[in-house]
Symmetry: C2
Subunit: 346 residues, 2 copies
């Protein structure tokens, strides 16, 4: 397995691509190779690009790739497709859209299916980024649909996050922004030439002002056997400390752009360059948080896999299949069952 | 803790609501109460409603609630908000939209923030549904944004899944459909009076026909040290068995609706009633799959929590804080670190 490792570290793209595919398929030797290259990484600047469906993330990434290439920088893109978790099939849209870079060997594009793994991006994205870092790409974009778990994962797997929004989407999309806002280092209103862009900029400016001085009170509902459920609930106001807002160095840069027209792209690149020049201590703190998330996610995945193996399948039941049948028949609750399995694993 | 349990099982809504809040806040005694009520459940018909942002899921759920109430059935709604995973804040949009049911005591609506937990819906949604089941709601809708992990979770936490789509959304939204299609028992094209609805119906009919006879070949990339990375990759075609499509009884019902105009809602209710009358063996098999997913997700969550506690915080480092620092400094890879933690936990 030393050959692919040495070749990847020497900048051999073919070897790196083969290693990424091997990792995706979990072929023998692939993980050992990944472990061998990992310590040599950490030089790439990894940028997450996230946002609700339809905001134009792929088009924006395409424009950013063009800007990086225009100044001679090699760049890699990891597109995490919102495709079927069951079939593992990847959709070709992103790659087709980026085909103008297809013949440019300074650009490397890799699509990953999420494959329904719990923990979202954690496994394959982390591994893919580690390989791209090791093979020498100084700049890596990770594009993902920002909804649910993925939006957290992308913040923990990257050095900076661009959150992309666009005017004229439904109110649920607005809701998505609330969660995304907190992970943004750069906040882009794409399709900035459309109706509603002014309003979107104004709304986000307000949201950022509120986020900078968190004052929204939370509610703490007390509950216990001494309190009759008919009596009015006691409520206390949670202070800021209990709301545990994500630590923030500075508010995100708010940039109006139109990826199709090419406006605002230079501003985004400038904002990224500023983040890239952040003090070493700041980057170090972020990488420590990344490490915590990656490690705990991997521990959870391993425990789940162990439990699943102990349960087995209907055709080949494992030692814990009976526990599942008890839960399905409501003779046991899933929480007690999980505790029993956790204890049995120890 | 017997009081809330007995009251919930006797149909006391106030007690059930207090228990749900207690579970959400993880107050002492809440989990024990949940375990005590769980074996008494299993009577509710639980329907997931999922789809991309902007397709009108909340409006559709509102219409379905109205249809259930019109025939005298009590109904509960669990709305899983795509709100901030960091602040735990819930957005009020869904609740405001459903306020016409606010004074109807045959309707119970509960909003859950996802709170960034890995494993998506698993913990709080499962618990909330168990309480609503125990307190006697015969019909429960679980509404969630269908993107990433949530779309799988909803299929494993419910007895039937309505996937909602709408014409005129971007191509990324179309992409989301591919994953959602496979979990649908009922497939609704909402906003069915808009331009593009005919096309959406036609596209979905085609997709369903393809899904019924899976023939899309996957690719298997072989890789190893004996193969030079410059040589053309060997590719073999994966058979259907390896693609492991989700088992399907019958294709989903495809229904054109307009939740705002009220069209198609009766057809959706009829489709749900047909699923509700499914043979006991079919429901049993589904509940067994639910049990496997719930248990393994809980085991994973517990392992993650244990690891996180062992790592500690920067202010109060735990016994494994040094391991994290090694990973952050690239002296150790996260995969080896996770293995060490897993072994240490045993």
């Amino acid at each position: 397995m030393k050959d692919p490792v040495a070749k990847t570290l020497a900048g051999d793209l073919g070897a790196a691509a083969a290693l990424m595919r091997a990792l995706d398929d979990d072929l023998p030797g692939a993980r050992a190779a990944l472990r061998a290259i990992y310590p040599h990484g950490g030089r790439a600047f990894v940028v997450g690009v996230t946002g609700a469906p339809g905001v134009g993330k792929s088009t924006l990434v395409d424009a950013l790739v063009g800007a990086a290439r225009a100044r001679g920088e090699r760049v890699a893109v990891v597109a995490v497709d919102p495709s079927s978790p069951f079939s593992g099939g990847a959709l070709l849209g992103d790659r087709v859209r980026m085909q103008r870079h297809a013949l440019d060997d300074g650009v490397f594009i890799r699509s990953l299916a999420t494959r329904g793994q719990q923990g979202g991006l954690s496994r394959s994205t982390t591994a893919t980024v580690a390989v791209l870092d090791a093979v020498g790409f100084p700049l890596v974009f990770v594009e993902t649909v920002g909804a649910g778990q993925a939006e957290i994962d992308v913040a923990d797997a990257t050095d900076a996050v661009i959150v992309v929004t666009a005017p004229g989407l439904g109110d649920e999309v607005q809701a998505l922004k609330a969660g995304l806002l907190e992970i943004a280092d750069v906040l882009v209103v794409n399709k900035g030439d459309r109706d509603g862009a002014d309003r979107a900029i104004a709304d986000l400016t307000t949201m950022l002002a509120l986020a900078a001085f968190p004052s929204r009170p939370g509610e703490l509902q007390t509950w216990g056997p001494s309190e009759g459920p008919q009596s009015p609930p006691r409520r206390t106001t949670l202070g800021e400390a209990q709301l545990r807002p994500r630590e923030r160095r500075t508010p995100p840069a708010l940039i109006r752009a139109s990826a199709t027209a090419g406006t605002g792209v230079g501003d985004i690149m400038a904002a990224l360059d500023a983040l890239r020049a952040a003090p070493a201590a700041e980057r170090e703190a972020r990488r420590r948080r990344q490490a915590v998330r990656q490690i705990t996610a991997l521990v959870g995945e391993q425990a789940r896999a162990t439990a699943r193996a102990a349960i087995g399948t209907e055709d080949a039941p494992g030692p814990l299949a009976a526990t599942v049948n008890q839960v399905a028949a409501r003779k046991l609750d899933p929480w007690s069952a999980a505790e029993a399995l956790t204890t049995a694993n120890r």
